[in-house]
Every structure is written in C-alpha cells, then in structure tokens.
Amino acid sequence: MSHVDVPVYRPRSLDEAVRLRAEHPEATVFAGGTDLMVYLEAGIVRPVAILDLWGLPELRRLRSVTGGQLYGAGLTCTDVIHAPSTHPLVRDAASTVGAAQIQNRATLGGNICNSSPAGDTLPVWLALRAEFELMSVHGTRRVPAAHFWRGYKQTELRPYELLVRILVPPLAGHMHFRKVGTRMAQSISKVVFAGRYVPGVDAALAFGAVGPVPMRCPAAERALVAGARPAEVAALVESEVTPIDDVRSTAAYRRKVAGNIVRRWLESR
C-alpha cells in the first residue's frame, strides 16, 4: 500500500468533531480502524483526509436515561463486555467479535456504520428496537435500526453526519443470541441471530448474514406470538430469510441453520 501524507483531524470534543465533519465531508471517519485498515491495505479505501474519533471520551460512555440505555458509538467491544449494565444481547454479540485484540479496538459505531451484512451486533439492534442518533451541525436525528441499513453496505448516514449514540429502549422478554461461524473466535458469521420474545405479546427474530442487510422475519414472529409450535416458526424462518451462496457458506445451509437456531431456542425455553 502506498502511504501518503494526508491531513488528520483529531477533535477533542464531540462539538469539534461534528464541525470538522461538516468542514471536511471528504475525510474518512476512523474509529477503531479494524475494518478500515483492511480496506486500506486492499486498496479499496484511499483516504484523502482523516477524521479520527478514536478515544473521544463523549462517545465512550454508557448511560441509563429515562428512555432506556444510551451507548456511545465509540464504545469498544471490550468496553461493553466489561460494563456491568450492558444489555445481555449486546454483551453476547460484542463477545463474539473477532478476538481480544480486535475487541479492544472494534467499536459499536464502526460495526454499525461498516454495515457488513455479517456484522455481529446488527441483529441485536434490530431485536431490541434500538435507535441511532445521527449528529451534524444541523442537529441530531434519531433513526430506528430497522431503517438504517438500506441496501448492501448502504446506510442512512449522510456524509456530513456522525453516528454518536445508540438508544436501547427498556424491553422485556426472553432473549437469545447465537452466532454460527467456522470457529468460536476470529470468524465472520455464516448466520447470526438475535431474538426477543414475550409470550403471546411480542416477538423479534432478527438475523444477519442471510441477506444484503440484517433482517427480521415478520411472518415467523406473528406465528410465534399467535402460539405456533417451534417447528412451524422455524419453517417460516427458513422461507423468509434470503441468504446467498458465498465463500463462507451456501444459501441452503444458512436457511437450515437459521431455522434450527430458532427452533432450538424455542424448544429450550
């Protein structure tokens, strides 16, 4: 890779970061760099300027507010694994990202904005009905996770915006997270699942790596709430997910695994 001397902006506050974002929409936003450095090395990304969010204290807080929990976009996987108040689904997902050296750098915001269909936290935000706070010099808007990923590697984020916080509302129910990859650590998901279920009331069955964007399975969710048996719900899941064949797995395998994850979870409750 050819390394060139490009300007680096290192804001000391969130206000400064947002202002710099507006002034330098061409800059590549860096958080932990665990996705970006791979793209740089491969020549897929060639920064002309850099806006560095790494270590910005305001983005690295986890707070409880009246509407739920607010996760700073700059929290690393290690940060949330260790924070006592982290939601169990968020902790489970963060624990499966890479290995320790990756978790020490990989941020929640980077996972969300990189928007790989296999990003391990993505189905969690869907299942928990999280909202993303996108900030710019014009103000802050909240986008539900369900509307954030628009297509393969395409998001709602505008070039002058930053993802600053993730709001997780307080939701009850049984929760389940499951990642299926080649090995326990350092493997990209073949299928990743986050589920939430309040018997007879509400359900969320959210998957990653089975379509261009993370997705829920509305028909299976309705059936589950209406009291369908695990095998019936699983069959609906298998028909709703939209996986493809790729280097990591086949569509048929992913469909089957998606159904099995849901069936086993529901049977084990």
């Binding site: 390394h3 490009v6 791979v38 090395e41 320790a100 050296q101 750098r105 350092q186």
Partner: protein
C-alpha cells in the same frame, strides 16, 4: 506527520504517513523486529503488541492513533527479568518455529494481568486471536497455566 509515543518506556518520535501501520513503524523505523507479520489483515495475532496495556493487532493500527500512547512490544516484556510467561514457554516447549511466540506472550501477559484466576477456558479465549501452526496449542496453554502456578491439564 510527526508522531510521538513511548515504546517500551522510551520516548520515541517518528516521521511517517498517518496511515502507516504501527507494525511497519516498529519493525522498519524502530528496528524492533520481535513483532512479526503473519497475515497483515488482523487474523493471526503474530503482530500483537500492547497499547496503553490493551493488546492490539499492530497491522491494523494506523500510526496517527498511536500518538501520545504507551506501546509495549515483546522487546519490552521481561526486558530486565524474564517474564513468567516467557519462562514457562521455555520450560513447557510452548514454541517451535517461534513466529507466533512474541504475540502469544503479550496476549498471555495481558490475560494474567486482566483476569485474576483465569481458568483454562479463559486462557484459551484470551489466546484465541493468536494462531499457531506448530504447537497445537496444548503446550502453549500448559505454559500459560503454569505461569499462574496451575497444574498442566
């Protein structure tokens, strides 16, 4: 750009492109060749170093993010007295070709500091980002467990 940090306690200043990898700065500019390059894409852990105590893949860290931090490489582990992990790796045959060994030692040292009484499972988890093509891991985990005063499993 000019980047200042400490490397194994010594203040250093390097002139490098901002996206230069910490790995290359360590090996080429500072001549600390104990840090190895395996995959160059964050997968293998051969390039593991510690920044402000946390293990990282130095092939994934751009040098501009190192400014103002404290970096520890294998040259700084047990520089004066052999670190217990290093002693145990020797005693238990935890190294063969040795390419993975510097990274493994740093991950193990971090694990021993961060987790008070790690189980074998926790040791395995802490080392999961360090691939070894030679040892089959058993002797490595034995060594780290021994460094803690545990019986080999």
């Amino acid at each position: 750009m000019k980047v200042q940090f400490t490397c194994n306690g010594q203040p250093v200043e390097v002139e490098a492109a901002p996206t230069a990898r910490l790995l290359d700065v360590l090996r080429e500019d500072l001549r600390h060749t104990g840090t190895k390059e395996g995959c160059g894409e964050g997968e293998c852990g051969a390039c593991t170093v510690r920044i402000d105590g946390k293990t990282v893949m130095s092939c994934l860290v751009p040098i501009f993010q190192v400014h103002g931090t404290a970096v520890q490489t294998i040259e700084g582990l047990g520089a004066e007295v052999v670190h217990p992990v290093q002693a145990a790796m020797l005693a238990y045959g935890g190294a063969q070709c040795g390419i993975c060994t510097p990274g493994l030692c740093l991950s193990a040292a971090a694990c021993l500091e961060e987790v008070s009484h790690p189980s074998r499972e926790q040791i395995r988890l802490a080392l999961a980002g360090n691939l070894c093509r030679c040892t089959g891991y058993q002797k490595v985990v034995d060594a780290v467990a021994a460094a803690l005063g545990q019986e080999p499993g």
